[in-house]
Structure formats: C-alpha cells, structure tokens
C-alpha cells in the first residue's frame, strides 16, 4: 500500500524532467492533494455534527447577546453572570474546533512524513544569506498557496460546491 502511494506521489516530481521545477511542481501538487483531502474530511464533520455544532453556537450567541444587553443596561452583576455562562459555552465550541482542525490538517503531517523519507537531505540556499531551507518550509509555502487557489475554485467543483454553500451558511448563522 505504502509503495503504491509512494509510486503515485513521486510521479508528480517527474513531470518536466528538470529536477528544480519538478521539486516545486511536485510539492505544490502534494500540498493541493492535502488541501483537498482535508477539505473533504472537514465537510464530513460538518455534515455529521452540524446539529450539535449549531446547538453549541446558538447557545454561545444567546449568552453573549445577553451579556451585552446586561452591560448596556448597566447591570454589572447580570453581565458577570451572563459572561460566565458565555464562557462555559465558548469552552465547548473551542474544543470542538480541535476536531475540526484535526479533520482539516491531518493530511499535512502524512505529506511531510512522506517528504521526510524522500527529500530529507535536500536543502535550498537562500541567496546572499548563507541560510538554507528544507522540505518543511517549501511544503508549507506551497500549502498556503494551494489553500488560496483551492478556495477560489472550490465553489465550481461538484461536491465542494455544496460544502462551500453549507460552510457559508454556517458562518453567516454564527
């Protein structure tokens, strides 16, 4: 299985036959694959846990609005109590975010593990500085670019079109 994955991934690094452009193209493709896989799994969490996340966010919003009203009304005791309630609600939302971020970012670490096994010794010198960067820096730069690129086109891709709408509605709601 690992050999098959390795064979597939290394083909991205042999597209032009020139090692330097191939390294950057291959890494970008790997980063894009990580973004797509992450977006897919995060969409699963949203689809499965939407009701639960909605409930948490509604409670958070409600307690927050109440604390703001209390402050506006000059009731400091009610503000402190409502803020404490909102604090508890936020705790739950925050730790649910751990699951969401894990769903989105897990492919990054497998991609880095694969790059470590293949390109550990390759270093790119930074001109005029004497410093050099390794596969981690190049992958992360490509990952950010891939996220930006995918963000621009995902509303045109069949499955992600629906997910994108779902996320937009969710963000608007919260």
């Amino acid at each position: 299985m690992l050999n098959i994955i390795d064979t597939v991934l290394i083909t991205f690094y042999r597209l032009t036959g020139n090692p330097v452009p191939d390294y950057f193209i291959g890494t970008f493709m790997l980063a894009l694959l990580s973004v797509i896989l992450g977006e897919f799994t995060v969409s699963l969490v949203f689809r499965i846990n939407k009701k639960h996340l909605d409930g948490l966010n509604n409670h958070l919003l409600e307690t927050h609005n109440l604390s703001m009203e209390a402050w506006r009304a000059g009731d400091r005791k009610a503000y402190t109590d409502c803020n404490r309630e909102a604090n508890d609600a936020f705790g739950k939302v925050f730790f649910n975010m751990v699951g969401l971020s894990a769903a989105s970012l897990w492919p990054v670490f497998f991609a880095l593990a694969w790059m470590q096994s293949r390109f550990m010794s390759i270093k790119f010198p930074l001109p005029f500085t004497g410093w050099s960067v390794n596969y981690v820096v190049i992958f992360l730069a490509c990952y950010i670019l891939a996220r930006m690129a995918f963000g621009r086109v995902k509303h045109r891709i069949p499955y992600f079109k629906g997910v994108s709408r779902l996320l937009q509605a969710y963000e608007k709601h919260t």
Binding site: A78, N83, A102, A113
Partner: protein
C-alpha cells in the same frame, strides 16, 4: 460553615504533604544510581539535528538507558526506541478527541499521557537520565512539542473563523500577542535542552493534580450552587430583556488608545482595559503552555473575561489568535533553538484519531450527565497527577502505572 472548614482543612493537608514531599525529594529521596565507563553510540547512527548530536554520548547495550544498534528502529528512527503501533496511536487519539468534545481542556492532558505512558516514550526517555542526560533532555523537548501540535492546531482554525466573523479586537490581540510571543520564546530559550524528563513529568503531574482539584470543586455542591446561581441570574435577565428589542450591532471600534488605557466600542457598548494586564497574562499563560506542552486556550478565556473583565465574544477570537501565535512561536523555537525533532506520521495518525473522536463525542455525550463525566475525570486527573508527580520528582510512582 462546617463544609467550608472541612474543605480548607483538606486543602491545607494536601499542601503540607506536598511541601514535605518536595523537601524529601530535595534531600535525595528516590534518586537513581548513575552508570559510567560504557562504550557510546558515537557517529554510527548519523541521525540529523540535535537529537543526532545528543544520542552520540548514549552508551551502547541492550539494557535500560542504552542504545541497541541491532534493535529495529522506533520513535524518530532511533534503534531500540519504542515502536508506536499506529493502531494504538489511532485508538488513543480517538479517546483524546472524544474528551475534547465532551469535557474540554482535559484532552490536551490525555494527549500528554498518551505520549508519555501509553506509547512508552516517557519510560524510554527517563532511562537515559543518568547514562545520557543530553539525549534525555532533547527527547523531553520532542515530547513537549508533540503535545503542543495537537492542542494548538485548534487555534489555527479558530483564528481564521474569528477573522472572518470580524470579532478580533486588534488592540487586545496586539498586547496579548506580544505577551504570548515573549512567553513562547522565553521558555524554549531558557529551558530547551535543560529540562530532564523527570522534572517535566513532575511538573506536568502537579498541574494535572491542580486541574483535578478545580474540576473536583466544580462537582461539589458548593461549586454546583455557584454555577446554578449564575445560570439562574442569566435566565432572569433573559426574561427581563425578552420584551426589549436588540440594540444595533456593529464591529469593534477603537475609541481611545494610550499606554495605560485602551477603550473600544463593541455592539455599541463601551469597554476598556489596561494593556499591561493582557500582556502579563499572555506572557505567563504562553510560558506555562510552552513549558508543559499544552495549548493554553482554556486559560486565556477565563483570565480575560474574569480578571480583565472583557466580553466573551471579543475574548474568544483574540485568545484563539494568542494561542496560535504562542503555539507557532513555541514550536518554531523548540525546533530552531532546542533542536527538537518531529515524528510527522505519529502526529498525522493522532490527528485522524482526534477527528474521529470528535465525531463520536457529541453522539455519546448525551448518555452521560456532565457532572458525572467531570467526576470521572476528577478521579483520572488526581490519579494521573499523583502518579506523574511522584514518578517525576521521587523516581517511583505511588500509584500503579
């Protein structure tokens, strides 16, 4: 009144016992014998970074605290190091993810328990305390950082979400971020490569014990009454506000900016704070998080809402950003200043497990009342805390582990 006295007596007793134990530890109780005059690893392994440098001085052999070159490669490609079964790592991470979504902060602690005890990295690292202290300390940094990856990543998504929602208060973010940055650089710089695994384990255990104490307080009738009072007051206020229309909503607008006071309006309401307070809070929380290898999110929010007195929504987004800043700084510092290494496949596997666990959490949560869930974790926290504390500072665990 009697209950209060009882509580205070127990607290005083626990503290006294703790101080006596520390004194015993300082007198050499539980100290381990040293091994000298052995053949060392040298340049054979050719491992990269500081871990490669540190392992050179480790003695060769098949015993504890020795490197067996013929053994299969384990953690970080070190021969003889624990080989972490991906299935065990995955299952443990499901448990961590489940805790994150049901209990909250305790998930980070459980991630640490996984790395130290379940995967056997703690005992392995500890065995090198006398035989190869430098290797013991670099491995400790690797463990501290492995915990931070898991917990701190949540802040990455959180920061993006709150940026989109425009609830990041930039003046607060700036001072909090500056404090966090200082704390997150300071700790790896001061302690990187200098903290032995035993010391780390001892402090980790102590903090888990204290958290267990807080959780215990929350489950006591006194803690429950306070919570119920706050809930009732919030409900009463909600009722009184029902008839009134909601005020106009608007984003954060800074109205005053000076070294002693920052004021801003949020939802049309005026708030203010002394910038020194979030700076100091950010510094200490980031320092503690970096030292223990935890995210720190569960400390920022109560500090900013309770001590600084800011509204929750402003605090939520800004603290997510502070955690992200401190996590990024701390991890970068551990890698660059302390030369800690990362086991990418292990972290990847754990993230998949956390993601599955966070799917299961909400579905199973309703079957266990929250107060019972907390009680279970109080027992766990006290057990793990006591075990790590005694193992770290006294060389052997007072509870089976």
């Amino acid at each position: 009144m009697k209950k209060k006295q009882w509580f205070e007596a127990v607290a005083a007793l626990v503290l006294l016992v703790f101080l006596i134990l520390l004194a015993l530890g300082a007198a050499g109780a539980g100290a381990q014998p040293s091994e000298t005059g052995k053949e060392v690893v040298g340049n054979v392994l050719n491992l990269p970074g500081k871990i490669g440098e540190a392992i050179k001085s480790a003695p060769l052999g098949e015993g504890k605290g020795q490197v067996n070159l013929t053994a299969p490669e384990g953690f970080l490609n070190i021969p003889g190091a624990p080989r972490i079964n991906p299935v065990v790592a995955f299952l443990w991470a499901i448990w961590v993810g489940w805790i994150f979504t049901t209990v909250g902060a305790f998930g980070g602690i459980m991630a640490g328990v996984g790395h130290m005890t379940v995967f056997g990295l703690g005992d392995y690292t500890k065995a090198f305390k006398q035989s190869a202290p430098a290797f013991n300390k670099v491995m400790t940094d690797c463990l501290r950082m492995a915990n931070q990856w898991l917990v701190g990543l949540s802040s990455f998504i959180g920061t993006i979400t709150y940026l989109r929602m425009k609830t990041l208060a930039w003046p607060l973010g700036l001072v909090l971020g500056a404090g966090s940055l200082a704390g997150a650089v300071l700790i790896p710089w001061i302690t990187g490569g200098k903290i032995s695994f035993s010391q780390y384990q001892g402090w980790f255990g102590l903090v888990v014990f204290v958290i267990g104490g807080f959780l215990l307080y929350e489950t006591t009738p006194r803690g429950q009454v306070r919570k119920k009072e706050a809930k009732a007051a919030a409900q009463a206020f909600k009722k009184s506000m029902k008839e009134k229309s909601e005020g106009e909503s608007e984003g954060i607008k800074v109205t005053r900016w000076s070294s002693s006071r920052i004021e801003f309006s949020f939802y049309g309401v005026q708030f203010g704070f002394n910038p020194v307070m979030p700076f100091i809070g950010g510094l200490f929380i980031a320092a503690l998080s970096s030292f223990l290898g935890i995210g720190g999110g569960f400390l920022y929010v109560p500090y900013l809402t309770s001590v600084v007195g800011l509204p929750m929504f402003v605090v939520a987004g800004t603290s997510a950003m502070a955690v992200f800043v401190s996590m990024l700084t701390s991890i970068t510092s551990y890698i660059s200043l302390a030369g800690a290494a990362v086991d990418w496949p292990l972290i990847g596997t754990e993230l998949v497990g956390i993601f599955v666990g966070s799917l299961l959490g909400p579905r199973t949560q309703k079957y266990i009342p929250e107060v019972w869930l907390k009680r279970i974790f109080v027992i766990l926290a006290l057990y793990v805390g006591l075990g790590y504390f005694s193992k770290g500072f006294f060389g052997q665990s007072w509870v089976p582990m």
